[in-house]
Amino acid sequence: MIPNRYPGIEQSIRKVIEGLGYGEKFADLPQATCCPVPGVFYSSDKSTWLALAARNLCLAQDRRLEMVTLCNGCFASLLKATECLSKPTTMGEVNKVLREICMKYTGVPRISPEGRRVLEPVKVRHFIDVLYNDVGVDAIRSAVVRPLGGVKVAVHYGCHYLRPTETGAIEDPGDPHMVDDIMAALGAESVDYQSKLDCCGAGGGVRSHVSELAAAISKDKYDHIESAGADCIVTPCPFCLLQMDTVQERFEGRKIPVLHAAQIIALAMGADRRMLGLDFHKVPVDGVLSKTRGG
């Protein structure tokens, strides 16, 4: 989704990582493919889904890397895959398929505190989690050169960031705050609105299969965001971004620009807006940008 639809997100996150001085800690995975998209693969054939996901995980495993995703969907897909692969029988079955491409998922070898060699599942992390917990909100705040000047942001977390909690959600699904805190560090004001934790309607194949339904679901969120007086919507998921951005042409009323969290962080860190692909969003982003110093 990101390379073929919102490449600006890629540039954004590169800018953010460089700007925070974490360039050394991140590496590209050039062979990584579609995670695979859960609404299509997980729903039609779990064994194919798992094999494709395991392939991606092997790429990270073989280089002893943690997998960081920029998308809620990828996060859910890959995290669930590691959970399935933690069962030895499942791992065995998947490896039979992976053998055809000369790969094997084993997990990452580590030395445990007791000094034993153990194999741990590949760690899958959401970039918000990495920014909040590994980098820290204070470091982000110090790297801001273009504070967002009290811009009112409506944060949309998205379903697969919050749920299901059993598979290891990032934070409390009833009371998430990481993205809000990051927005505050950028100088923006995160507004509360009634359906904040609700679904945007796109996922699970709804957008592709019955787009009117997705639009109807988005409308509830849009109405609440609009009446809360938000200047823009920020989300950590490109698919939610796609949905909330393109659906607004069906609605009357004020058009509210939608940004990916990486884009708005990069913006606050002084990135050139042209590099972030913001001009190619359906809803023009100018209104937000003029509110920040520098524009």
Partner: protein, 681 residues
């Protein structure tokens, strides 16, 4: 001679009708047994456990001079005691018996291989005979039973049990954690009484008149009993007290009770209330859920018994160093006692009854059903406090946000129960019924209020309850709708509530407005239940309440001899059931104690103190707390308290010095059995 490896063994094979006889060739088995060395007689019978069978066994024992017995029959769990009693009657020490299980472990499981089953039965009997030859007599332990009982918990169950036992002449110690007795029934829950109306006729109930035995206030119901209790010479009431340590065994439980300081001398206080008038400190009364205020020196609620004041030292000015003595100065009897430090009380009792009751579920997850976030979402307990005519609102139902009477009230059932996300998912049994009662009570005072009850399944069991349910819907016009509410949203400004739920019987999602939402919370084990169970070595059921000894036949006994359980401590139930169980528990305790002496039935373990190195592993592993460490000479040695030992053998295995032996299961006896098992016939 029994005890020297030379016992004369009598073998009795039971055919158990067709249960054993159809599969095992019992005559063959008997014949085989009679050829074994040491066997002086072998016989078969159709039903050994019958009167006839037992009589014939006794006659045979006396005729043959057998002094150790092997019975080949059903599982010892069924009739070991029967046969032990029988051989004792025949003059043999009751423990010189071995039961070879040739039914559950042979004929029932090998019913399609009769030949092999018979061979296996022969092996089992041979093993038994070999073991029985090395039996030595065992004397059971007798325990003197102290004629005093401890009742833990002063709610309706506890007080009923205490009263009955006291009437029977036992000295009862009633330990209650709160400052007053009566538990949940007296404080917040009005009692559940059923209306036995003439079917089809609408009956008016009036609280003030109390014309029928219907929906009476709980105070009226429980107070007479409480007064009897207070005045009873044989009952020692300890309020503000908790059990801290328990040791010992049936007949001789040593209990340490800690009584928290009341800061008011109970002997002097008459409950006049003069002290609270000049008290300068006002705080919210936690017994009224913040709906009303109280002073630092207070009584929890007006009907409370014992009617003695207490000082909440955390709020009192004296705890901040000020020398306020307003209450002491105004008390005609000089009851306030600032130097009270509480006390430790040591009790020695023969039996314990656990009647610790319940607490209600506190919905605390943020956003879930709006509790704590929305002021007008309350629990049933808070509602009941409002409904109490002598309570903080005088019986009027109000919205906490603006203290106005609501127009539309919603009840949400199954809050905290039937939810596997938070606990075992048990049903709390009484919530459907207390909601019906609450709805009726509200309608009595406020007939114009609309009430809707959101339920998943309705449980209305018991005498008159189905009729009660119909009254609620038909006569009082309460609406019932099926569907578990998905969200409770608050309207800004009005602080009214919107409940979104799928009304499943309509197959539609609805959003409905209410002024007040009441969560019908479940009954959960009270705080400290786990610790108390550990202290008493009681088992807890998966739902967290105390596990009774047998679900059907022993509802008030526990796995520990001498300890009984009753009321909601055993699981959610209503008042009539709690009272019934309390009386049953009192009777069980009385049956135990009236015999004055108790004999253990278990073949227990004993320590060879010469070999014991005092490592305490047996103490760590024993689930019953039977081994104790005693100072012997220079070092410590373990000793098994026979009254507590159940003969499970855990310590025997754990002991690294092999110093502990199990009676009738010594290494030598077991080795003999094993050798016998492996012999080629």
């Amino acid at each position: 001679m029994a005890g020297e490896g030379e016992a004369k063994v009598g073998v009795f094979v039971c055919r158990c009708g067709a249960n054993i006889g159809r599969v095992i060739d019992c005559e063959n088995l008997r014949e085989y047994a009679s050829t074994m060395p040491g066997v002086v007689t072998a016989m078969t019978h159709d039903y050994l456990c019958s009167e006839d069978g037992l009589k014939i066994m006794r006659e045979e024992i006396s005729k043959s001079g057998a002094d150790a017995i092997v019975v080949a029959a059903c599982t010892p769990r069924l009739h070991e005691k029967t046969f032990r009693d029988n051989i004792e009657a025949a003059g043999i020490n009751r423990y010189l018996l071995h039961v070879a299980n040739i039914r559950e472990q042979c004929s029932w499981v090998h019913s399609n291989e009769p030949y092999k089953a018979t061979e296996k039965a022969k092996d089992l009997v041979r093993m038994g005979v070999r073991k029985a030859r090395t039996f030595s007599p065992v004397e059971g332990v007798s325990v003197q039973l102290k004629q005093e009982v401890l009742v833990v918990g002063g709610g309706v169950a506890g007080i009923e049990a205490a009263y009955d036992l006291a009437e029977l002449g036992y000295r009862v110690h009633l330990v209650e954690r709160k400052p007053v007795l009566g538990g949940n029934m007296a404080t917040s829950f009005t009692c559940l009484l059923w209306c036995h109306e003439v079917p089809g006729k609408f009956q008016t109930i009036s609280f003030r008149q109390g014309t029928f035995p219907t929906c009476d206030c709980s105070g009226c119901t429980i107070t007479p009993r409480l007064v009897e209790l207070i005045n009873h010479p044989d009952i020692n009431i300890l309020t503000m007290s908790e059990v801290k340590e328990v040791s010992g065994h049936v007949g001789d439980f040593r209990v340490k009770v800690v009584q928290k300081p009341r800061y008011v001398d109970e002997a002097k206080c008459v409950g006049c209330g003069n002290c609270s008038i000049p008290c300068p400190v006002t705080v919210k009364n936690e017994y009224d859920f913040g709906l009303a205020d109280r002073k630092a020196i207070f009584i929890p609620y007006q009907q409370g018994i014992p009617r003695k004041y207490l000082i909440d030292m955390d709020s009192c000015l004296r705890s901040r160093g000020e020398e306020c003595s307003a209450c002491l100065d105004s008390c005609p009897f000089g009851a306030p006692d600032y130097a009270d430090k509480g006390r430790e009380i040591n009790l020695d009792v023969g039996a314990i009854i656990v009647a610790t009751g319940f607490e209600t579920y506190k919905p605390h997850v943020k956003g879930y059903l709006g509790y704590k976030e929305s002021k007008n979402v309350i629990t049933a307990v808070e509602l009941e406090r409002m409904l109490d005519k002598a309570g903080p609102t005088g019986g009027i139902v109000i919205r906490p946000s603006d203290r106005r009477v609501p127009k539309r009230i919603a009840f949400i059932q199954c809050v905290g129960s039937r939810n596997r996300r938070i606990n075992e998912g048990y049903c709390s049994k009484v919530c459907c019924m207390y909601t019906m009662k609450n709805a009726q009570a509200i309608k009595e005072t406020h007939p114009e209020v609309d009430i809707t009850v959101y339920y998943i399944d309705l449980r209305a069991v018991g005498k008159g309850v189905e009729e009660f349910y119909h009254r609620t819907r038909e006569d009082y016009g309460v609406e019932y709708t099926r569907g578990r509410p998905a969200e409770v949203l608050e309207e800004k400004g009005t602080q009214n509530l919107i409940i979104r739920a799928e009304e499943t019987l309509l197959n539609k999602i609805t959003e409905r407005n209410f002024d007040l939402v009441v969560l019908s919370v479940s009954l959960v084990p009270p705080e400290g239940m786990k610790e108390l169970a550990e202290m008493l070595k009681l088992r807890l059921s998966p739902d967290g309440f105390i596990q009774e000894a047998h679900t059907r036949m022993k509802p008030v006994e526990t796995s520990i001899d001498g300890i009984y359980v009753c009321g909601c401590a055993q699981g959610p139930k209503d008042v009539p059931e709690s009272v019934a169980q309390a009386k049953a528990a009192a009777l069980e305790a009385a049956i135990l104690l009236h015999k004055k002496v108790w004999k253990t039935e278990s073949l227990n373990a004993y320590v060879d103190s010469e070999k014991c190195i005092g490592c305490e592993l047996c103490i760590e592993t024993c689930p019953y707390g039977a081994p104790v460490l005693e100072k012997v000479g220079q070092g410590n040695k373990a000793r098994i308290v026979e009254a507590l030992c159940k003969g499970c053998g855990t310590c025997v295995v754990a002991c690294p010095s092999r110093a502990i032996h199990s009676r009738q299961f010594t290494d030598r006896q077991l080795t003999n059995e094993i050798r016998a098992a492996l012999e080629v016939k």
